[in-house]
Symmetry: C2
Subunit: 334 residues, 2 copies
DNA sequence: CTGTTAGCGCATTCAC
DNA sequence: GTGAATGCGCTAACAG
């Protein structure tokens, strides 16, 4: 068998350098107990052969893969993309690899994917806004170490996310201070944790603001959901619409443009997330900017801390900031 | 040592089922040579213990990881995101995992990432539009099996991509048929293969269209690049602008809106790619739609074919389709 | 059909 | 300081 064509193994290096396997291993890993002269010879041999230790074999013996998994509900969603980006770049900086798993909004799949990917990685970052609390609680121990994104506090699993309640409060306050009293909230994923946070913030605003009325309309989480509810929104008599997120807001905006309804003159619209294109719709979208890239980076930090046995990262909640742009204005009637 | 807390190994299952390791292995892998009754007992034991074969150990012995790497120049680019999405979903369907590597536009990093990720995967899908041809040629053999995206034909490496020349020809024809004769081409990544394809298509159009003049202006590939060249574009005296891609077109559009330059009345603008938001700018963008998700899926097919030793996939080139929207119209002067 | 044996490629005890 | 042996957890030859 001509093993010439195969990747060189540690044995080949050992032979070329005239030393044992152990010495090659030690030298390659910078173990200081090896004679400098020998180490150099080994490294030279390795370089000559173009040798690199087989990561799979190392993973088996070391019990770690230098890889983490990221489970995302929808790779098409700009916010998840941004989280993934922030995470991926931070992980790469620390020498880790990232396995992605797109659950395509399938809850069963999500659970299975998380478990399956955990077997070939050192930990999983779980982005599962819709998974029931109990299911999450039973899943997390099997995933450990794990990091959860945009969920409530978890037992012994770090959570990083944005404060959707705070963002929503700012949005409502912005609209009421403009003079709006009749609002519509376009509910998205009603089973999601972030929906409940939004909802509670709205309820709180209603109870503390005289004359404020917020009607909830079921929509979805994507562009088409926004276009689909346009007529319902118009029929509601509201002067401002709080969309579940930017995609829904943009879909609505698009449908309203078709219907020649002026925004913000006749209807104000707000989004949530501040995805890259929110600033470039016309009018540009007033929204609550969620620092998604930072969330991704923070999620990595929390994972890295667990992986290296460092200080356990406390739960981290980033605060969205209100970005006022052209899609909101005082109601016409006021 | 209480190994109770550790993941159950094949040995534990063997003991519980009262059989040997081999039998467990065979039963777990559905090997038909095992007695049905025994197999059932093994599977029951495995289920009771919650046993799943360790993928890392399997990878080592089988020499395959059931994972492929995708090297992307920029995870922020919507087109690459779409390719990744199409690829990831197709790979998942076939039971494969996807490792992502974002080279962040760093050419050296790109090369290193490709080699490094290859060591822990069964193949790499390389999206490296800017890598010099010679470098690519030396890199590919080390990556094999590999699939290359949006490049010219390669020796013994499948290529999948879009026909940028064709898309550009359609764009130019569209503009000239509207009556435009003075155009500007906003060049993006000038070292990229797809830039050259665009450029050649433009040159061909110029040589066959009487009175057609296309000025090339260096821009970049992102939104800001588009805004940055707005004044230069206005000074050129052109009646239509062919942007490198949708992002550049949108940036330019945004800058022109600020300058109160009417599009398409005073200036027509075209993009390229048809990213998700191209349809929702105002005016919506005329562009050449690149089937990015399909490219990703096709790239996976090409990889899968190599992995399973099936028919080698021939080079596949998908044709972009011109999507005429509101950002183009006949020039005002004509 | 099943059990025993031998690696996959490497890191790490343990002797020297 | 260095080499020889052991095993990470599993699959695949090899006997029986």
């Amino acid at each position: 068998m001509a093993r010439e064509s195969s990747r060189p193994g540690i044995t080949d290096v050992a032979r070329l350098a005239g030393v044992s396997l152990s010495t090659v291993s030690r030298a390659m890993n910078g173990n200081p107990t090896v004679d400098p002269a020998l180490a150099e010879r080994v490294l030279a041999a390795a370089a000559e052969l173009g040798y690199t230790a087989n990561p799979v074999a190392r993973s088996l013996v070391l019990g770690r893969t230098q890889t983490v998994a990221v489970v995302i509900p929808d790779l098409e969603n700009p916010t998840f993309q941004a989280i993934l980006r922030g995470l991926s770049r931070a992980a790469t900086t620390d020498g880790y690899h990232v396995l992605i798993a797109d659950s395509r909004e399938d809850l069963d799949e999500e659970h299975a994917l998380a478990r399956a990917t955990r077997l070939r990685t050192d930990g999983v970052i779980l982005c599962a806004p819709r998974m029931p609390e109990e299911e999450l609680a039973t899943l997390l121990p099997a995933l450990s170490p794990a990091v959860v994104i945009n969920r409530g506090p978890q037992v012994s699993t770090p959570v990083v996310g944005a404060d959707y309640g705070s963002g929503m409060r700012e949005i409502v306050d912005h609209l009421t201070s403009l003079g709006h009293r009749r609002l519509v909230y376009l509910a998205g994923a009603t089973r999601s944790v972030t929906h409940r946070a939004r909802q509670e913030a709205i309820a709180a605003a209603v109870s503390r603001t005289a004359g404020l009325d917020v009607e909830e309309i079921s929509a979805g989480v994507d562009f088409d959901s926004g276009t689909a509810v346009a007529d319902q929104v118009l029929a509601s008599g509201a002067t401002a619409v709080i969309a579940y997120n930017d995609l829904v807001a943009m879909g609505l905006l698009s449908a309203l443009t078709v219907r020649r309804v002026d925004v913000p003159e006749r209807l104000s619209i707000t989004g949530f997330d501040d995805i890259p294109f929110a600033a470039y719709t016309s009018p540009p979208l007033t929204t609550a900017a969620v620092p998604a890239v930072e969330i991704g980076a923070a999620a990595w930090s929390a994972m890295h801390a667990q992986l290296t046995g460092g200080e356990p990262t406390p739960a981290l909640t980033l605060t969205p900031s209100l970005v006022v742009r052209g899609s909101t204005a005082a109601p016409h009637d006021v």
